[in-house]
Symmetry: C2
Subunit: 250 residues, 2 copies
Amino acid sequence: MTISITPIPGVPSIQPGNDLAALLLSSLDAAGLTLGAGDIVVVCQKVVSKAEGRIVDLNSVTPSTFARTLAAQTTGKDPRIVEVVLRETRRIVRMDRGHLITETGPGWICANAGVDESNSLAPHAVVLLPLDPDASAQRLRAAFERRARGGVAVLITDTFGRPWREGLVDFAIGVAGMNGILDLRGQHDLNGRELHHTVMAQADALAAAAGLVMRKGDGIPAALVRGYDFTPAEGSGRHLIRAAEFDLFR
Amino acid sequence: MTISITPIPGVPSIQPGNDLAALLLSSLDAAGLTLGAGDIVVVCQKVVSKAEGRIVDLNSVTPSTFARTLAAQTTGKDPRIVEVVLRETRRIVRMDRGHLITETGPGWICANAGVDESNSLAPHAVVLLPLDPDASAQRLRAAFERRARGGVAVLITDTFGRPWREGLVDFAIGVAGMNGILDLRGQHDLNGRELHHTVMAQADALAAAAGLVMRKGDGIPAALVRGYDFTPAEGSGRHLIRAAEFDLFR
């Protein structure tokens, strides 16, 4: 079955307090896209964070001594941004060669705790990751399912770098309506051999796919994925985070 | 513009020496899919490796002492498989908790040097990664472009785990006809701010997307991606490998 990935155009610039679900539904309507059961709506983290007011005015931030030290030694960034990054961080994973890779409170490992300087509301503002992207995804899902009259999945995505690989790819940080992981263990391959290592990160693959139509700078903050066969489930982006005790790279 | 991802069904079981391009073209024909300029054909590594004879009969392998030690201490695998993994390895990145993460000769970092036990031709056979997946991709591209009468891109993909994240996702190891990386630096966001960190791994995102229709065990070894706007280029999967001196996680 063919999977289609359609950008959702015409989403206005999001302001704190906006009803993001309503704005996305309006944009879907305007684009002639009618939500139905089995659809997956992928929404970039930035518009979710903006709608939820996860914005910090740098003029309100006094950097700590450590933030000033890191800014000078590592990233070359505004020390106030480094201070905001540290406030979102529970562990520094690497701080070398100009990069600050941190583990956030909820557990994502990414550059600068996901604090975003681009595309924000004002020159002195930075955008944080949503506090609870699963809850954000569930809220959107509830609104979308009322419209679709059936099961819809929602993914909240962010753009991360990867060890060993050049370039960025989108990942799922919030998941609702489907499992983030597709566990095929116990099934068999064409030779009848059991599939041992086939726990697929389907939400990350869908996030990466949706990222193909949500290029930075294009102003496309959401995409509609159709034709992907999934089993409806509550879901959580946290299932995609490897527990520290099983992780070889922290 | 909507991107579509269509599985290419009906590809027969591949044997060493098969003309993979011809078999894929036959399957496309049988499915009523006519290749055209701008199409991207994504092919899983396993069928490329099989066609190229990258298969090792374990009965021909005598494990070294180190392979026996690793097998006993780390992976619990057949020592002959560990021997094959070591022959494909230039550096062991991690060897803990039952996992053997290695850097292959060409530079991919993945579990067991990409040596694959499932879906192989015989119970005693394992499949290696292609020797030069870019060259494999270029050969397929040449055959596909003759048919398409225009530019076609080809990606050879494999399924890898990721640090910090649960589950597997498909990555591009061979690339022909497009750049693996999409460099947006110098462009500006909607607020006129320059995009600093937007070097997208478009070939990996396309690989992940195609993986959604190439689930393990389904016998779908290839997919056709349409509607993705790319600039034709020679391309190389090696551009997606971060050089060791810039990598914080080796």
